[in-house]
Symmetry: C2
Subunit: 237 residues, 2 copies
DNA sequence: ACCTGAACACCGTTCAAGT
DNA sequence: ACCTGAACACCGTTCAAGT
């Protein structure tokens, strides 16, 4: 028996070394296979043939693990073809997000639970805002449109982020004394996100996004739209 | 010290007997005070001065506890004044849901995690559908409007329910061989919800709600609306 | 009918130690 | 630098028993 070593090792990746991306990949695979409820640090560790605490060298804690998983997937959202007009491009990006949600059924819950916006998440927001901007919309309207599209941008509700979909302040919820160097770095990577924030700050001296007003804006937009369809004798198909 | 019994008992409700509503009330109070993460069966039990297993006489399990908490609160959504037109009435109901979300910050997560639609939740849906119907909209359009309003109806995304906001099949996800008596009971309590389901079933012989089409409907509705605002030179305030 | 006690099979994470 | 072992302070829930 002992000499019949033809059977492969029972899955734990033979190689000795863990890495952050290896851990994230295994976590995504586990969640895809068995759902987010089954993803525990202990379970993931045993899957990797390693003691639970070994993971903590590559991941700060469980929240960081889940943030990493989200980031990996959002970074892979496919971009629309270059030639498209702004509407088609926005539509394409939103559909790409929705596709990811279908591929990874745990993603919605993960996004809903997430407390920080990772770079890829900010990048996706920035890309959508950029397409709208390309359509000639003012940053003010882009901001409102981001709120209205809301969960469509993710395929789910982004209000999980404490300050709303179109809000663009840094991950920290506080007004936050802005470090100019940090702001410059943000503006470099997420120009539209920052532009919206500046536009909002300029418009309302408080600077904060008025989430109540945004909610009402979208609600009335939808009620108007539905009303018009009704008046026009809309029917499906 | 011992005789100085002027201090009140250290909170555990003095009275001997637990009840379902007492348990739910304490759970809501605990979640209001310390958040949903702090709500555990063990913690709640100790708050009530009782052993954890005592709760299981009044609540099937933790999911049932949370469903009960939701149901209690949704049942208390205030109804709009009777005189209002349909738009104002819909608006009022949606704002009432949003108010509850502000009052109970844990409610959004609870709703997102919930797997079953409780009577009060169905009642709220039915009431919103009823207001739209009162506006003269076809059930087909009411159905689409419910999807479009989506998370606005709750103040959050209802896609947590596996089959979408406007979907109206019974809590079980399966096509489910319909028990006529059960359907009649449903139709009695939730006439509009049932009417939408029948309308949908009639329109698409499969009977199931096409969530992809509903998603696209809302997305295009919003893109159209934003587009029009832009063309009309919209600005905020 | 309602509550208890002890137990089972789990969690995330800290801390001190090994190599 | 990276992984381990043992421990801490928790979970939800079953099962058999008490009153």
């Amino acid at each position: 028996m002992y000499t019949m070593s033809s059977e492969p090792p029972p899955t734990p990746r033979a190689a000795g070394r863990l890495s952050r991306s290896g851990v994230l990949e295994a976590a995504v695979a586990l969640a895809d296979r068995e759902g987010l409820e089954s993803l525990s640090m202990r379970r993931l560790a045993s899957e990797l043939g390693v003691v639970p605490m070994a993971l903590y060298k590559h991941v700060a804690d469980k929240d960081d693990l889940v943030a990493g998983m989200i980031d990996q997937i959002v970074a892979d959202y496919r971009a629309p073809q270059p030639g498209l007009d702004w509407r088609a491009a926005v539509r394409g990006r939103i559909m790409a997000a929705r596709d990811a949600l279908h591929e990874h059924p745990w993603l919605r819950s993960a996004l809903e639970r997430a407390t920080q916006r990772t770079p890829a998440v900010l990048g996706h927001m920035d890309a959508v805002a950029g397409e709208l901007r390309r359509g000639g919309l003012s940053y003010d309207l882009v901001h409102h449109a981001m709120h209205a599209l809301g969960h469509r941008i993710w395929g789910f509700s982004p209000e999980a982020f404490s300050d709303g979909a179109g809000s663009t302040t840094a991950p920290d919820a506080e007004p936050a004394p802005v470090d100019p160097a940090q702001l410059a770095a943000m503006a470099e990577r997420y120009p539209h996100v920052v532009a919206i924030a500046l536009d909002t700050a300029q418009r309302a001296p408080g600077g904060a996004c008025d989430t109540e007003a945004e909610f009402a804006f979208t609600l009335d937009l939808l009620l108007d739209a539905v009303s018009s369809l009704h008046a026009a004798g809309w029917r499906s198909r």
